[in-house]
């Protein structure tokens, strides 16, 4: 008879970024005994529950659907509810946790996501769309029929955190919002959307780093969508240019 495996016990030092109000950002260390199969978010919660009740962080669904728990783990954007501890550290190792970049810190690990949500809103995309519009063209769309699905974006903001262009420009729409514009143009080819996105805060601010697609936990592939958006804008503007020429002819 096979025995149930005994969970391993690791000792990991969590190095957590702390910042309260206008105070200086600093790191605090917490030694935790963890099961390496647990997730980074579990560790953060245990720090809050048993070590420091003033630790502020966001979490909700715990299964990569809500997008609330994005943080920087050892310098890389991760959705902490699905990041097993064993994938980012080892026994007697350290684990550095910081808030997402490119958003003002509200407190400790929680950041102000307002600008991100406002940019997404500019795209006016529908969260539910027919499969052909919502999926990437190279995805398996073999399910036939008039089916709709939720678009992939869980609005976690990790793409904006990873984007080098977003470091210096708060005006930049960002990969998430640009991907939303591309979704929106797929769903409804409203020409006014082109006027909104064809500006210097649009896809021309992207310089092909591809960080966004690398950290997206939800298969949005914002970088692919930005490249596609560029083509959409070029062909739309060219078509409009030639249509005007046609109309202007006597």
């Amino acid at each position: 008879m096979k025995n149930k495996p005994v969970p391993e016990k690791w000792t990991v030092t969590f190095i957590v970024s702390r910042q309260k109000g206008q105070g200086k950002r600093h790191f605090e260390q917490f030694n935790l005994e963890v099961d390496p199969e647990e997730y980074v978010l579990d560790g953060i919660e245990r720090i809050w529950a048993f070590h420091d009740r003033s630790l502020t962080f966001r979490h909700a669904c715990h299964h990569s659907t809500c997008g609330a728990c994005g943080m920087l783990v050892n310098g890389v954007e991760k959705l902490t509810c699905i990041t097993p501890i064993r994938s980012v550290t080892k026994d007697s190792g350290t684990l550095r946790v910081e808030p997402l970049r490119n958003f003002p810190v509200v407190s400790d690990l929680a950041v102000d996501m307002a600008s991100f949500y406002l940019n997404l809103e500019k795209a006016q995309f529908s969260q539910v769309a027919p499969i052909q519009n919502a999926s990437l063209p190279f995805e398996d769309q073999s399910m036939e029929g008039d089916l709709e699905r939720l678009v992939d974006c869980i609005e976690c903001g990790m793409c904006v955190s990873a984007c080098p262009a977003a470091h210096t420009s708060s005006g930049y729409l960002g990969p998430g919002a640009l991907a939303a514009f591309q979704h929106s143009l797929n769903q409804k080819n409203d020409p006014r959307l082109y006027d909104l996105v064809d500006c210097h805060d649009g896809p021309w601010r992207c310089h092909n780093a591809f960080e966004c697609s690398a950290v997206c936990p939800s298969n949005v592939d914002p970088a692919w969508r930005i490249m596609n958006l560029r083509r959409k804008i070029v062909s739309h503007r060219l078509r409009r240019l030639f249509k005007r020429r046609e109309a202007a002819k006597p």
Partner: protein, 128 residues
């Protein structure tokens, strides 16, 4: 607030830690762009010696043949090749080619760049 986007964070553009290959391409492209622009200005400037007649230009050329100068020229050529191949990567990606294989394409283009630069170094320093 400290974590918000700000022009003061421009140094972060060049921080390669924990970054994707695409960002390495971006960093190289940005550094070579600035370097090549400075070179363009200098190049146009020194060409003014042409207007001063054969004496000025020919004596400038003897200066250019010194090893220090030639090393500088090699850097410019390297910068030009890297910037050009990165630009090709961006043109390809923007027109839908190789977006999903962008890491592989970047690696191939960088390998070609290194080969090109090595060839130039060979010709510049060992053939003449």
């Amino acid at each position: 607030m400290k974590n918000a986007p700000s022009p003061a964070h421009w140094l972060r553009w060049f921080d390669p830690r924990y970054r994707q290959p695409g960002t390495w391409g971006y960093i190289l492209n940005r550094i070579t762009a600035i370097g090549l622009t400075i070179y363009l200005v200098l190049h146009l400037g020194v060409l003014s010696t042409l207007a001063k007649g054969p004496g000025a230009y020919d004596s400038f050329i003897t200066l250019v043949k010194s090893p220090g100068f030639m090393l500088g020229e090699l850097l410019v050529v390297a910068g030009g090749i890297i910037h050009g191949t990165n630009g090709i990567r961006i043109v390809l990606n923007s027109f839908g080619v190789g977006v999903r294989d962008q890491k592989v394409i970047l690696a191939i283009l960088m390998a070609l760049s290194i080969i090109g630069i090595a060839y130039f170094a060979y010709v510049m320093f060992l053939v003449d």
